[in-house]
């Protein structure tokens, strides 16, 4: 019969053992009284020594929870930074397109400033003279007469 050594028993007690070794021990102790009593003896020795050593210092001081506020703070700051940056970017992009559109509007509007004509009652609407005043983008004023 393959009896096991103290090393294996100790590892079994401390659950530092593979599943196959565990199965082997559990099967073996059912058949071998020597190993079963060895295991019992070593288990009680382990818990006895642990208990004795732990009795030296029994005051279990409550360990305060370690807060990692700094890191959390950094994360929040980073989030804020990303949000601010994205808002700023959208404002800049918006302004860029808005000003571009405005420029186009100014260019268009400045070409045709006003249409002025005097109505001649003796003529039909299609025969009326029409004067269109045009202000160019450079500020030049010109009048176009349409008959």
């Amino acid at each position: 019969m393959n009896c096991f050594n103290e090393d294996l028993i100790q590892r079994y007690i401390d659950n530092e053992i593979s599943e196959s070794e565990k199965n082997f021990i559990e099967k073996h102790i059912k058949e071998c009284d020597t190993c079963a009593s060895k295991l019992e003896e070593q288990t009680s020795l382990s818990s006895f020594v642990k208990g004795e050593i732990n009795s030296i210092y029994t005051d279990n001081k409550a360990i305060p929870k370690i807060n990692i506020e700094q890191n959390e703070g950094k994360i929040i700051k980073l989030k804020d930074f990303i949000i601010t940056l994205s808002v700023a970017c959208s404002i800049v992009i918006g302004l860029f397109f808005f000003t571009r559109n405005n420029e186009n509007e100014i260019n268009n509007a400045s070409i045709v400033q006003s249409i002025e004509f005097d109505i001649d009652a003796n003529k039909t609407i299609t025969e009326q003279d029409m004067i269109i005043t045009v202000v160019g983008p450079d500020g030049e004023v010109s009048e176009i007469l349409i008959n």
């Binding site: 103290e6 100790q10 005051d59």
Partner: protein, 144 residues
Amino acid sequence: MYRVAMKMINDSYSVSDIVQDVFIYFYEKNKQRKKIEYPKSWLYRATVNKCIDFIKQNSKFESLNTNIEFIDNKENLEKSKIIQQALLKLKPTERSLIILYSEGLSYRELAEATDIKFSSIGKTLSRTLKKLKVELKKKEDELF
């Protein structure tokens, strides 16, 4: 760490100093960007080594056992003394191993914190447990 040091030294003032020193050393190591692979085991190892150094330095003097705040009666004080004297009979590595074992460290952590090979932890532990039991018996017989 504090508990481990208390089990080794049993002097709350010295233990506080030791734990503080270990943390300062740990902080400086980190500051120098020296990588500590297993911080938990490293801290335990450093604490145990510091305690061993302290015991060596103070071995000439009789321990005053200033740690009376948690030993509520004379019987417990005597018991605590017996256990510590029995622990002192072990080799430093064995003493560290058994104290760290009582703290519930895994075999991997025990191997990292002591100079014992991972494959030898079980064997060394079972031997040390028996040795300590014998020492405890001797000390109790001496006293009573």
